[in-house]
């Protein structure tokens, strides 16, 4: 039998060139790809939404989101992705699919999405202005505050978008996009952000 050697690489490895891009001077946007995370899709089985939510509470200490929002715990984020379903985003294997399987046994079906999505973090004082070119939803702080989430589309590509905790007093938007669409969306983001000047990087930290 053939031996396979899997080389885990980011779907943005070719497209992402760290450093400054676009307009010179102070960059208005910071684009950071987050690599090496655990992502598990949790979907309630028929009639078992209540049990799934209770199981999540027992595991994470917080109820699973039942409306479009992202709930952060000390070591995981629970992100709404649709009715009776959410994503568990974490790192280090503590909440990997193997770890979560016994937690949701009987109440929900799990699917490992760790290598199926790219995670892009957008911040900076022009972050919202840039995202407004791509998204039709209102991202103003009054409407889309910290912890708000949305399953929506950008450039005809499905994304899971949520607002994380502010950093240095500025909003941080997180985007999960299908791995095979990540490069396409990345180029669209670069086009949108070039006028503001952008600092590109990647990180293993959320």
């Amino acid at each position: 039998m053939a031996e396979f050697s899997w080389d885990v690489r980011s779907p943005l490895e070719r497209a992402l060139i760290a450093g400054p891009y676009g307009a010179q001077g102070d960059s208005g946007v910071a684009l950071t790809e987050i690599r090496n995370f655990d992502l598990v899709q949790v979907m309630a089985r028929r009639g078992k939404a209540g049990e799934m939510i209770a199981a999540a509470k027992a595991r994470f200490g917080v109820a699973a989101p039942e409306t479009p929002k992202a709930i952060g715990t000390s070591d995981a984020s629970l992100i709404w992705s649709g009715p009776d379903q959410f994503l568990v985003l974490s790192k280090g294997g503590k909440h990997s699919i193997e770890a979560l399987a016994p937690v949701f046994a009987g109440s929900a079906s799990l699917s490992d999405q760790s290598h199926a999505r790219a995670l892009i973090s957008v911040s900076g004082d022009k972050a919202r202005a840039m995202l407004a070119k791509l998204s039709s939803i209102d991202l103003h702080s009054d409407v889309f505050g910290v912890g708000a989430a949305a399953a929506t589309s950008m450039d005809h590509t499905s994304v899971t978008l949520w607002r994380g905790a502010d950093r240095n007093g500025q909003a941080v938007f997180n985007l999960l996009v299908f791995a095979t669409f990540a490069e396409s969306l990345w180029h669209t983001i670069l086009d949108s952000t070039a006028e503001y000047g952008v600092t590109i990087g990647h990180s293993e930290e959320f």
Partner: protein
């Protein structure tokens, strides 16, 4: 046109896909050929208020039942179709 998804809120048309008339119900197994032919092929072309299935594929991926006036595009009701949020159906 915008549709207010019961799960996501108001969204642009581009996030949705149209399926068609939500009225036809699958006939019972012994209903006969005419009833099945009607269910599969025959559709009313309604000028006015109509019940339709829409799919929120660019968002939460739920099927919706939308009551829409085909003359004015006015949407008077949106609800989750049977099976959307499957965990609650038959609970």
């Amino acid at each position: 046109m915008r549709i207010t998804c019961p799960f996501c809120g108001e969204r642009e048309l581009g996030e949705f896909t149209y399926l068609g008339d939500a009225k036809p119900q699958r006939p019972s197994a012994d209903a006969g050929e005419d009833a099945v032919y009607d269910y599969v092929y025959l559709r009313d072309n309604i000028a006015g208020v109509m019940s339709e299935h829409w799919y929120h594929g660019g968002g939460c991926r739920a099927w919706l039942k939308v009551t829409r006036n085909t003359l004015t595009h006015e949407i008077s009701a949106v609800e989750a179709a049977a099976g959307a949020g499957a965990a609650k159906v038959g609970a």
